[in-house]
Amino acid sequence: MTDPAEAAVAAAFHNEWGRVVATLIRMTGDWDLAEECTQEAFTRALERWPNDGVPDRPGAWLTTAARNHALNRIRRGRTEHAKLREWDTMNGPQDPPDPSGITDDRLRLIFTCCHPALPIEARVALTLRTLLGLTTAEIARAFLVAEPAMAQRLVRAKRKIRDAGIPYRIPPAHLLPQRTASVLGVVYLLFNEGYAATEGPDPLRVDLCAEAIRLTRVLHGLMPDDPEITGLLALLLLQHSRRTTRQNPAGELIPLEDQDRTRWDHTSITEGIAHLNNALNQGTPGPYQIQAAIAACHATARTPADTDWPQIAALYDRLADLTPSPIVHLNRAVAVAMANGPEAGLALLQNLEADLPDYHLLPATRADLLRRLGHHKAAATAYREALTLARTTPDRRYLTHRLNELTHVPERPDPRT
């Protein structure tokens, strides 16, 4: 039923949108014009390709079409000062080659979209819009924001880029590690947003996890030698491999130990582990590589009992050294509890009370450990405390479920008494 030419346009949209926009922004210096002309190029393709055939290099065809459209627009708008300046730029000498040797315009686009002078929500939205070609409506829906508010967010971000003079280029070498971290932070936020967004089935809602992986693949293709990018790709693939087993049909979260491991996506796991090994072979571990290594420990354990908890605890130790945060310490406490027993974990949790006052997973973890020790009353109290802090429906359901289980089980006598 689908016309092959239409399918080719759809494929080109997926693969080439970001490249065409990125090139047009460099040529015109005008983000709105670049987006509009790219859109126009795709409309042209839909008209022409069914008759003329699909070009050998769809990307080049689209870039030329978008460029011609931009030139026409600029010629027509001659009287406007701003447009004239763009005309000059377009006909002026080409930019000198980038000192980093990277020539793909998409990298300039990514680093500009993720510039730390922009608010984080704007970085995410702008990256989805310009690089991946999501519509404003799709982005608004993905983040549960009204469409006009999302449109406003994009307008403000583009205005700041233009008026405050955020440069359209790859950062110089001394800024590159810091700025790459900023880009990866955007990708990670995107993935987590998709991972946590479980409220209600919304077939029109784009899969942010899949988009985050797509973006990381683009980054990995552009900077294949950066071990943290490779590590992040590994991490996301490993996490994503569990996407169909994390919830039961009622929308309740299923903890790792109860998931059906045969339904994990083993292709994704195999690819993730291959990327992880490539990254680790470079000998400069970073936070994403370590998190991927932890995810790999889980992904390769055939049964929950096979999980190498001492190794996971050791990896959390490394992670805590690199990125000290109370959440990392909480996860480490869980791993220690699994490796050395619940008492050892509970002792570590005590030190975190002051750092995580409103975080439901702290009392929830305490409750789980108390339950394992058979202290059901204390566990129930902790589950109730967690319920007062949990905000998403799946979290609340999970905690309620655990709490109900406890009230039907007799208290195990404390062996010490």
Partner: protein, 113 residues
């Protein structure tokens, strides 16, 4: 592009004589370096806010009040007008200003067409 750097901080912060001397020396050093780079066009330290007078004209009437236009925890201590390639360079220049280490610096582009 031209940017205004608003140098902000707590004007009531109590600095020791030594700290003050170091701050002054570092500021002079920054000014000299940025003048030599030809990026700093104009700039000065400002007298404290108790020397400020705020004026408003409403319905043809001039209203005058003593002090800054609004009471805030940080005050504008000074300003520098710089001209450089882009925001990246402006932020690099601002981050080298010694007051960035204890106060904050707002970097704003001038409204130019």
């Amino acid at each position: 592009m031209k940017y205004m750097m608003l140098i902000c901080g707590d004007e009531n912060a109590e600095l020791t004589a030594d700290e003050l001397a170091v701050l002054e020396e570092d500021t002079i050093d920054w000014v000299e370096k940025m003048d030599a780079r030809s990026v700093r066009k104009l700039g000065s330290r400002l007298r404290p806010t108790d020397t400020a007078t705020t004026i408003r004209v409403r319905d043809g009437e001039t209203l005058m009040s003593d002090g800054p236009f609004t009471e805030t925890k940080e005050q504008i201590l000074g300003f520098d007008l710089i001209e450089c390639a882009d925001l990246e360079e402006a932020l690099e220049i601002a981050s080298k200003h010694p007051t960035a280490q204890r106060g904050s610096i707002e970097v704003r582009p001038l409204w130019e067409e």
